[in-house]
């Protein structure tokens, strides 16, 4: 106590703001001609990029494993450096240096702002604290109601045709996040007139139903697939908004059971840039998510661990660069 407390106005610490702005996306991997369309990209990569674009800078994004996490991390390393990731297992604000294997993957703990419990995360979620959630699903209907529990077919819930993993956090996210993005494969059997089991609430029976139920969240705002991006109109009905390059509206209709509403002007989904694709491949060095699941079986433990560590190093060094500004 050899000096007086500092006046509160000349505090040194500054907020966690990257110098990058949303207008001018970062190019952390120093890719040549970063904003040009990538020459080679997979449909899965296009899907991940399209979903990432649903996260705005500065938002809290409730993400899960797999594609959802990939999109969140991609957003953070590109156009939304100030978004904060939320994981239901108890981490907020982390900077994962790669793809996660599970919802408690310790990669999700890296540089976290908060390490807490699941109940607290969902308490906050129920209150409407989070801006955007990203979930997956096995089936979806025209109102964005999703099924991740069971494809029952002509059987029963107790002994269904296909038992799916279950809600996980998808019900809670769709109930309470301000808006929710659903990522799916575009398949006729999945885009169904009547889901076998409603796991997560979309726009339900009618447009006011969510409000009647007292939900904090506005429900699904977008569905991103490997063929197209959909929004929802004021009635809560799904509307085709853009198709991916090379995909026609008719192609999409083919994979939807109901009479699909289509926007007046259907756009072509923006293609991934060189920078985005490079970043995705750095996030998923073992190709766990992006390009199938075989690689990890083909290599020995030692090669796996070396690959993962190399890519971690690369992503960690980007993060160190981008946060250097707030610690000087």
């Amino acid at each position: 106590m050899s000096e007086q407390p500092k006046p509160t106005t000349d505090a040194e610490p500054t907020a966690d703001q990257s110098t990058d702005t949303a207008d001018e996306p970062a190019n952390p991997l120093d890719v040549d001609r970063p904003h040009e369309t990538a020459a080679d990209y997979t449909t899965t990569e296009l899907l991940a990029v399209a979903a990432a674009h649903e996260i705005d800078d500065g938002e809290t994004a409730f993400i899960g494993v797999g594609m959802s996490l990939m999109s969140g991390v991609l957003a953070k390393y590109t156009h939304a450096p100030n978004c904060q990731l939320v994981a239901e297992s108890g981490y907020v604000g982390s900077v994962p240096p790669g793809v996660v294997q599970s919802i408690s993957d310790s990669v999700l703990g890296v540089d976290a702002l908060v390490a807490t419990d699941q109940c607290e995360i969902f308490v906050d979620n129920q209150r409407g604290a989070f801006d955007v959630g990203i979930i997956g699903a096995g089936q979806i209907d025209s109102r964005g109601n999703t099924n991740s529990t069971a494809v029952i077919g002509d059987q029963t819930y107790d002994q269904p045709k296909v038992r799916l993993p279950g809600s996980g956090g998808s019900n809670d996210i769709m109930t309470s996040c301000d808006r929710t993005v659903v990522m799916m494969r575009q398949q006729r059997r999945a885009f169904t007139t009547d889901v076998d089991y409603v796991t997560a609430p979309g726009h339900l029976e009618h447009a006011d139903r969510r409000e009647e139920l007292g939900f904090a969240g506005d429900g699904p705002c977008a569905v991103v697939t490997d063929m197209a991006v959909f929004g929802f109109d004021d009635d809560g009905e799904m509307v085709l908004e853009s198709t991916h390059p090379g995909v026609s509206v008719a192609d999409v209709r083919e994979e939807v059971q109901w009479d699909l509403r289509v926007a007046d002007e259907v756009e072509t989904t923006a293609e991934p840039t060189r920078s985005e694709v490079a970043m995705l491949r750095t996030i998923d060095p073992a190709d766990v998510v992006l390009r199938g699941t075989d690689y990890v079986y083909e290599v020995e433990f030692d090669e796996w661990t070396e690959t993962v560590r190399e890519h971690w190093d690369e992503l960690r060094s980007i993060h160190d660069d981008s946060t250097r500004h707030d610690t000087q």
């Binding site: 007086q4 610490p13 702002l113 906050d124 209150r127 904090a216």
Partner: protein
């Protein structure tokens, strides 16, 4: 308590990332006449400086929607800021009663203070329900007693699952403002608490707006070094003010011990209305001035006392191993 349901649920995180402000501005901006307010701490880590600033700015008609409250409530009641208190316990210290509170409740001086009692667990649960945005949380506390008889906000129902047991339903509290004092916070509003948390993590969540006052403003990177201590995350925080010694005369765990002689003097002088008004005259002033008047030496002594009994591991001591091989030592 505040209305159970509001359409104005907490908004998306503020557009601006830097929430730092001054104590004066934070109180001026968020506490308006007639607000309902919850304060953090409980005879330790209380936001005393913030409460004195509320008195200094002459706020009126406040509802203190809270748990057990000590000096800060007694001062505000004596100064005429508070119309209603919903909570579990009032006093000023170990032995001294809340003289201003008694004077207001029993004699209407300076004006009547309406009391609505809950138990301590009742307090926790009203903030838990508020944080969850559900109308109530059930408990067995308070059953069979007069607490629900005199607090119309509490409902006693029979267990809808058919056990036959009665349950007390504690309604959600959604104060307009929560003011929480913590050891460390970053400009985004990630507030870290050492030692006990009381109900602070719930109050920040239940409130429409949350002001954090902190002993020390730290960088976001320092927060990342001990994420387990971030009991109040940035997305529930609206304003951050660095207010060193913001809990004086109470304790701040790991920072300074309570100034017992100071608040015992308050207990003495608050027994008489004239003496109390003189105390107000003497001690209600900008916090910088207050601290200066308490004096460097005295504050240093309180820091030294706390340092003798509680020396928590430094929050920021996440020394990275010189090389990865150090990780192997974990199990050696």
């Amino acid at each position: 308590m505040t209305e159970l349901f509001t359409d104005d649920r907490p908004d998306a995180p503020a557009e601006t990332y830097d929430k730092t402000t001054t104590l004066e501005d934070a109180i001026a901006d968020y506490v308006t006449d007639g607000s309902s307010v919850a304060f953090g701490g409980m005879g330790g880590r209380d936001p005393e400086a913030a409460a004195r600033e509320i008195v200094r700015q002459e706020k009126t008609g406040l509802t203190v929607l809270d748990d057990a409250r000590t000096t800060l409530l007694d001062i505000m009641v004596g100064a005429g800021c508070v119309d209603e208190y919903v909570g579990s316990w009032v006093g000023t210290s170990l032995i001294s009663q809340g003289h201003n509170i008694r004077n207001a409740v029993e004699n209407g001086v300076p004006h009547h203070l309406e009391m609505r009692d809950v138990s301590n667990f009742g307090s926790s649960l009203m903030f838990l329900a508020g944080a969850m945005d559900v109308p109530f949380v059930p408990t067995r506390s308070m059953l069979g007693t007069d607490i629900p008889e005199h607090n119309d906000d509490l409902e006693v129902i029979e267990d809808p699952f058919g056990s036959g047991d009665p349950l007390a339903l504690v309604p959600a509290a959604r104060p307009d403002v929560a003011i929480i004092h913590v050891q460390r916070c970053d400009p985004l509003g990630n507030a870290q608490i050492r030692g006990n948390v009381v109900n602070d993590h719930l109050k920040a969540r239940a409130a429409e707006k949350t002001i954090i006052t902190c002993e020390e403003l730290v960088t976001t990177d320092e927060i990342r070094e001990a994420p387990e201590l971030t009991r109040i995350p940035f997305y529930t925080v609206d304003a951050v003010a660095e207010v060193p010694f913001g809990s004086h005369p109470w304790h701040c765990y790991g920072r300074y011990y309570a100034d017992l002689p100071f608040y015992r003097e308050y207990g003495l002088r608050s027994q008489d209305r004239e003496d109390f008004l003189e105390w107000l005259e003497e001690w209600i002033c900008p916090h910088e001035e207050y601290i200066e008047r308490i004096g460097e030496d005295r504050l240093a002594t309180l820091e030294r006392m706390e340092g003798e009994i509680n020396t928590p591991a430094p929050e920021g001591d996440r020394t990275p191993p010189a090389d990865a091989a150090n990780a192997e030592e974990t199990h050696e």
